[in-house]
């Protein structure tokens, strides 16, 4: 018998399958929890997202779409960024005003190459207002998982209102589980030393989030679950 057979046989012998309620039938999973906590207009959802991100020490900026190039240029210049990682599908006009040299997200690049890059700019799949969370799924303008991890500075652009959902249940509905998913809520942090919160242990220490009010171009559409 393989270990697989042993374990499955033990489970079947454990008699858990027969365990049911007093009626003998298995109770259905109660799904009466809330789909969303409170009613909000799109503008209120964006405000809540901004407030929750800021509470976890992300820097939140807001702009209309046509203000993006200037804002991005300013954020990168403020940090003295000389090189910026650019994922495939990033609208090129975003970085039109920035002076930094572009480093493309290549599969063949080593982690060391990315460790030498100052900043990374990406879009996202969606953002969750109630928890202050950005979700990246490797789609257009997001790149591979490591590019938002190794550089010390991450700038993430969220298109408002299209990419903002209110709650976690709404977020899961719109995500494709077969893609690699990264949920980001504030910059990397630890509270392991006497419960003092310290930003940035291994991930980026600075997270700039831009809420860009904009009509949605086709490349930034979120991936919907089939």
């Amino acid at each position: 018998m393989t270990s697989r057979d042993v374990i499955l046989a033990r489970i079947r012998r454990a008699g858990a399958a027969g365990a049911t309620g007093p009626t003998g039938a298995e109770a259905p999973i109660p799904r009466d929890y809330l789909r969303v906590h409170g009613e909000r207009t799109p503008a209120e959802s964006a405000d809540l997202l901004a407030a929750n991100l800021a509470e976890y020490r992300a820097h939140v900026h807001r702009t209309a779409d046509d203000g993006l190039p200037a804002l991005l240029a300013r954020l990168l210049a403020r940090r003295g960024t000389r090189t910026v990682l650019v994922p495939a599908g990033l609208p090129l006009y975003w970085l039109a005003d920035a002076a930094a040299t572009h480093v493309p997200d290549r599969a063949a690049a080593t982690p060391y190459e990315f460790d030498a890059v100052d900043s990374v700019v990406t879009g996202c799949a969606l953002a969750v207002a109630e928890t202050g969370t950005l979700v990246l799924d490797g789609g257009p303008a997001q790149g591979r998982r490591r590019i938002t991890l190794i550089p010390d500075h991450h700038v993430c652009v969220v298109r408002v209102p299209d990419q903002v959902v209110d709650s976690v249940p709404q977020a899961l509905e719109r995500l494709d589980p077969t893609r690699p998913l990264t949920w980001i809520s504030g910059p990397s942090a630890t509270s392991d030393i006497e419960l003092d919160r310290v930003e940035g242990v291994h991930g980026p220490r600075t997270l700039d989030v831009i809420l860009a009010t904009t009509p949605t171009p086709p490349t930034a559409a979120p991936h919907t679950q089939p």
């Binding site: 270990s3 374990i7 809330l34 906590h37 080593t110 591979r144 991890l149 893609r179 392991d192 991930g203």
Partner: protein, 511 residues
């Protein structure tokens, strides 16, 4: 010595080597003022924050009920969901391995690492790999395993053990951490910078630099997982620092060792736990990073993914109708932070990677009650019920504690390594049984009780600090209460007399 060496004597796995039974370990711990102060500060702080985070959600009770129901449903059909998970992971490009016990899991992982030709691995905090003593097994095979979670790094550099599920180095002060880093980091890689201070920011920076060189060159990573989705084959890791993301993304090969109880049926089920786990554990609306991956993704992340499904006592636990609810645990640690016993005794006293109330019910079930520490764990509680109240999957920990106490004192049926056995009554509880017999005798004979009470009151000044004979075990860990100046029933009779109610006087003094 690792747990693997002691299996034959004590069941599938033994307690951590060198661990005394809970009362002895706790007695040492409560006399350590630094430890008590650290623990009190930490547990009270997290407790308060958690209560606020939970109060934000009007449907908390419904989320809790849903979480409980999802886990119970999964456990009832665990065979089906594991087979489905295996199919999904395989279809997504992963390889699934099954491990009956710690030794087998360690063998599988060691073999997988050796096949890559690497001599070192990076690890994201994983209680399952601690449970099976994987680091020690890898070391025996000449493979260095580096813990990359900051607190786990502190524990590993200090040749120490984790003392809390969520903040494993909670027993360490910043000064101790500074000294450890200064002394130990250089032996493992990049040394701590000269003149390192004890500011948490500086310490975190030292850890960042020390570990980054390991991340960037790592070829193999070992992880656990918080959840596995049967429907899609998706694995989920919740973390804060980014070390998890580093391990799950940068190396060529990823090996995840996960307990079989961590499976959930559908991707949608995660909507419950994504809301309850962060709020219950770190008291945040969401932890900084959550990674979900499904097999391998071409060009993004590891090109080889291995999932080791670990039994190691879980199917035995499943066979216990009362105890199986412990398998619902999502390792949030909320029960530790509200427990009055944990707060004073600390995590090490539990002699297991699972400390606190959940450890007191999980460890004796996973490992069996053959060792003194495991037999003592169900008694490491006041049964106050606070742990059940905060549990996000509503595990009735007090119910399991009482159930396990009964089995240890009186013996009874249990399942060990898949076989139904009868546990013999444990030694060491003879005094308890004798005391109960004596109590019954006295309570049946009120005259004797009264005489005894009066004698005790008169002999107050002769009160010893510790009881002799079999009573000693009781006073080893408790202060002997001071006898009152007079027995309650004498006091009551006197009070009645002063109230001038002579008709009741003759009744007073006898129940």
């Amino acid at each position: 010595m690792t747990t693997r060496g002691t299996q034959a004597a004590d069941g599938p796995q033994a307690a951590l080597p060198g661990t005394p039974a809970f009362p002895e370990a706790a007695r040492r711990a409560v006399h350590d003022p630094v430890l008590r102060a650290n623990l009190r500060h930490a547990t009270h702080t997290i407790r308060g924050r958690r209560a606020r985070a939970v109060a934000e959600l009007a449907d908390w009770d419904r989320l809790r009920a849903a979480g409980k129901a999802i886990k119970d449903h999964t456990l009832r059909h665990l065979d089906r969901y594991l087979v489905q998970l295996e199919e999904s992971v395989t279809a997504a490009g992963g390889t699934v391995h099954w491990a009956v016990d710690a030794a087998e899991a360690c063998r599988i992982v060691t073999r997988l690492v050796q096949a890559t030709g690497e001599r070192e691995v990076v690890k994201v905090k994983s209680m399952a790999t601690q449970e099976i003593s994987l680091n020690e097994a890898l070391e025996e095979a000449g493979i260095a395993a580096y813990e990359t979670d900051l607190a786990e790094l502190i524990v590993q550099l200090g040749h120490d053990r984790p003392s809390h599920i969520l903040v494993p180095a909670i027993h360490r002060n910043r000064g101790e951490i500074r000294d450890l880093f200064a002394r130990e980091m250089g032996r493992w890689g990049r040394p701590a910078p000269d003149g390192l201070g004890d500011d948490p920011r500086e310490l975190a920076e030292a850890a960042r630099r020390h570990l980054r060189e390991k991340f960037l060159r790592a070829g193999v990573a070992v992880s656990g997982a918080n959840f596995m989705v049967a429907e899609t084959g998706t694995l989920v890791v919740f973390e804060s620092e980014g070390n998890g993301r580093m391990c799950l993304t940068l190396p060529e090969t990823l090996i995840s060792v996960v307990g079989i109880e961590k499976v959930v049926p559908t991707f949608r089920d995660l909507e419950v736990f994504l809301q309850t786990l962060p709020r219950s554990s770190t008291a945040e609306r969401m932890n900084p990073y959550t990674t979900m991956w499904t097999g391998t993704a071409g060009g993004d992340g590891p090109s080889a993914f291995h999932l080791v499904l670990l039994d190691n006592g879980r199917t035995d636990t499943l066979a216990d109708a009362v105890g199986r609810q412990a398998l619902r645990c999502i390792r949030c640690s909320a029960c530790l932070n509200v427990c009055p016993v944990y707060e004073r005794a600390g995590g090490h006293a539990y002699g297991s990677v699972y400390p606190g109330p959940i450890g007191a019910v999980l460890s004796p079930q996973l490992r069996g009650t053959g060792s003194p520490v495991d037999a003592s764990l169900p008694f490491a509680s006041t049964l106050c019920g606070a742990c059940e109240e905060v549990c996000p999957v509503a595990i009735d920990i007090p119910e399991i504690l009482v159930h396990l106490r009964e089995r240890i004192v009186q013996g009874g049926p249990a399942t060990r390594e898949g076989v139904r056995v009868r546990i013999r009554p444990a030694r060491g509880h003879a005094a308890e049984r004798a005391a109960l017999r004596a109590a019954r005798l006295l309570l049946d004979h009120p005259g004797a009780l009264r005489a005894g009470e009066r004698l005790l009151a008169r002999a107050r000044r002769l009160r010893p600090r510790r009881l002799p004979g079999p009573g000693r075990a009781w006073t080893d860990s408790r202060d002997l209460p001071e006898p009152p100046e007079q027995p309650f029933r004498d006091w009551w009779a006197q009070r009645e007399r002063q109230d001038r109610t002579p008709r009741r006087q003759d009744q007073a003094g006898t129940p």
